[in-house]
């Protein structure tokens, strides 16, 4: 691997509360290689979701650089930014809140294809059916409203929407945390399959070390907006060095027995 897909350096974001600024993300640096999964772990309030939102420019950082596919991602604006977004996608935690309550499955998958001009209008129904099949859903779902389908199906639709534009990196913000345990394993398997076949890199944000050890290559453990330790996912989870790493591992006692199944 020549150059990293994504390089983040010195990323900082503070929130002002009653006069003083609290740093939610404090000088974070990391990189992701093509086709690799980096997990961001940490207790609530450690800034992991903020990092995800910063990466997608949903919020703007106070300082730092994000280089994505060899270009400065933070300098993009307007149409150039919108076009670039095709390559950097996100899956949200709550699969119901992530969709317009009035949307249908067809509309959700049609939007990215239309916006980025990926397929012609005539070709789109076929492409949507292919996307549904790709995430293990029946093409009959297209006419259904988002609120009519199950949570697991919704998260598959969210993944289908994310891969519709052929991204090279998907930010998964607690993407399996809201799911049923049995569904969780299936979604993780789907993510692993997609990564193997399409070489998509993931930034996997989670507080659940069990899930992380099943999917991540590398891990960075966050504490109060800083990276406490990072390295190979297995190595770090088996023998954490930092205090927060040890606390997180201790909080997930069934960790060493299984990989995906343990989430209960």
């Amino acid at each position: 691997m020549s150059s990293p897909l994504l390089t983040v350096s010195g990323l900082t974001k503070g929130y002002r509360r009653t006069g003083k600024t609290i740093a939610a993300v404090d000088g974070i640096s990391f990189h992701i290689e093509p086709g690799e999964t980096l997990a961001l772990a940490g207790p609530s309030g450690s800034g992991k979701s903020t990092i995800g939102r910063l990466m997608l420019r949903l919020i703007e950082p106070d300082a730092g650089h994000i280089e994505f596919e060899g270009g400065d991602f933070l300098s993009l604006n307007g149409a150039a930014l919108r076009a670039r977004r095709a390559r950097l996608q996100m899956v949200f935690q709550d699969p119901l809140a992530a969709f317009n309550p009035r949307a249908t499955v067809a509309r959700v998958l049609d939007d990215p294809l239309r916006i980025h001009g990926i397929t012609s209008r005539r070709e789109r129904p076929r492409r949507i059916a292919a996307l549904l099949e790709r995430v293990g859903l029946s093409a009959d779902l297209v006419a259904r409203a988002i609120h009519e389908i199950s949570g697991g199906q919704r998260q598959r639709i969210a993944i289908a929407r994310a891969i519709a534009t052929n991204p090279s990196l998907i930010v998964l913000d607690e993407a399996v945390s809201a799911l049923d345990v049995s569904v969780r394993g299936q979604i993780l398997q789907l993510l692993l399959d997609l990564q193997r076949e399409e070489r998509i890199a993931y930034l996997f944000i989670s507080h659940d070390l069990g899930v992380i050890s099943a999917i991540a290559h590398r891990i960075a453990i966050l504490d109060a907006g800083r990276i406490a330790e990072s390295g190979n996912a297995r190595t770090v989870i088996d023998a954490p060095q930092s205090a927060i790493g040890k606390a997180l591992v201790a909080a997930a006692p069934k960790l060493n027995r299984t990989s995906v199944r343990d989430a209960s």
Binding site: L56, Q89, M90, F92, A97, N100, D111, P112
Partner: protein
């Protein structure tokens, strides 16, 4: 139970709906029953009601058929009321959505403009507008909408402010949707229900404002209006009070009907939303 069923089981809503249906029937059948110009002389002047059955509600000062005027006046009242309310809701929803979604300077500017409109009494605004531009149906509609859009704008903005923080709006940004498309296709439809709940009040107020403008002689002079009829009858109020009372009752019933039916719709849809 379907919303229609629930609507039909609310007595007030049914009463409102019956009044509205009767009103629409009057407006639609006016040219059928009274094909002649309602402003043409039809009989002796100041004929009291229920004397001559070809002129059931009598005639006015100039011998015009009051029944015909009432039917044709319903057309004006409904047309102006609905058009003005629709215009006010559209302007308000667009301004509120832009202000709430854009935030910052755009929000400040649009909301200060809204404040400016809100500080001027809406009737005064309509009065001034019509006297400057001149009385015609379109101008009257615009004048009423001008004073009525601020309410919907505020409600829409408040709603948009809460919706724009939701994940699905972030999701729309992530897939690269244009901000204007997000505002009007993703956010606005979800902000509409509370804005539409204002519509019955706005329609009722618009009908009253139109009547008041006509009463002051600022309505479209080529159309019969209930407000104009009341104004006409005012000069002979002691000798022929029915000339003011008949259109007055029509006005009261219309406003009541619009309000009751509107409340009924809001009530039934509100229940449906809380159940889902």
């Amino acid at each position: 139970m379907s919303p229609l069923c629930r609507f039909l089981r609310t007595p007030e809503a049914v009463a409102g709906a019956i009044i509205l249906v009767a009103l629409f029937a009057m407006a639609l059948t006016a040219p059928l029953f009274f094909p002649r110009d309602p402003q043409a002389i039809a009989g002796p002047a100041l004929l009291p009601p229920f004397q001559d059955w070809s002129l059931p509600l009598g005639t006015d000062r100039l011998g015009r058929d009051v029944t015909a005027e009432l039917f044709h006046g319903a057309r004006t009242s409904l047309a102006v009321g609905l058009a003005a309310a629709a215009a006010a809701l559209v302007i308000g929803a667009v301004v509120g959505t832009l202000a709430g979604f854009a935030g910052g300077l755009v929000d400040e500017m649009l909301m200060r403009i809204t404040d400016a409109f809100q500080t001027v009494p809406s009737f005064l605004l309509a009065l001034a507008f019509v006297s400057v531009v001149g009385p015609s149906l379109g101008v009257v509609v615009a004048a009423i909408a001008l004073g009525a859009w601020t309410g919907p704008a505020r409600v829409a903005r408040a709603e948009v402010l809460s919706i724009r923080e939701r994940d699905f709006v972030a999701g729309a940004r992530v897939i690269g949707m244009h901000p204007l498309e997000i505002a009007f296709r993703e956010v606005l439809p979800n902000a509409l229900p509370p804005v539409l709940a204002l519509s019955s009040v706005i329609v009722a107020a618009a009908i009253l404002t139109e009547a008041a403008l006509s009463f002051l002689g600022l309505g479209d002079p080529n159309r019969v209006t209930w407000g104009g009829m009341i104004a006409e009858g005012r000069t002979v109020l002691r000798t022929a009070p029915f000339l003011s009372i008949v259109p007055g009752i029509a006005l009261v019933l219309t406003v009541l009907g619009v309000y009751l039916a509107g409340e009924g719709v809001v009530e039934t849809t509100a229940v449906r939303r809380s159940l889902s």
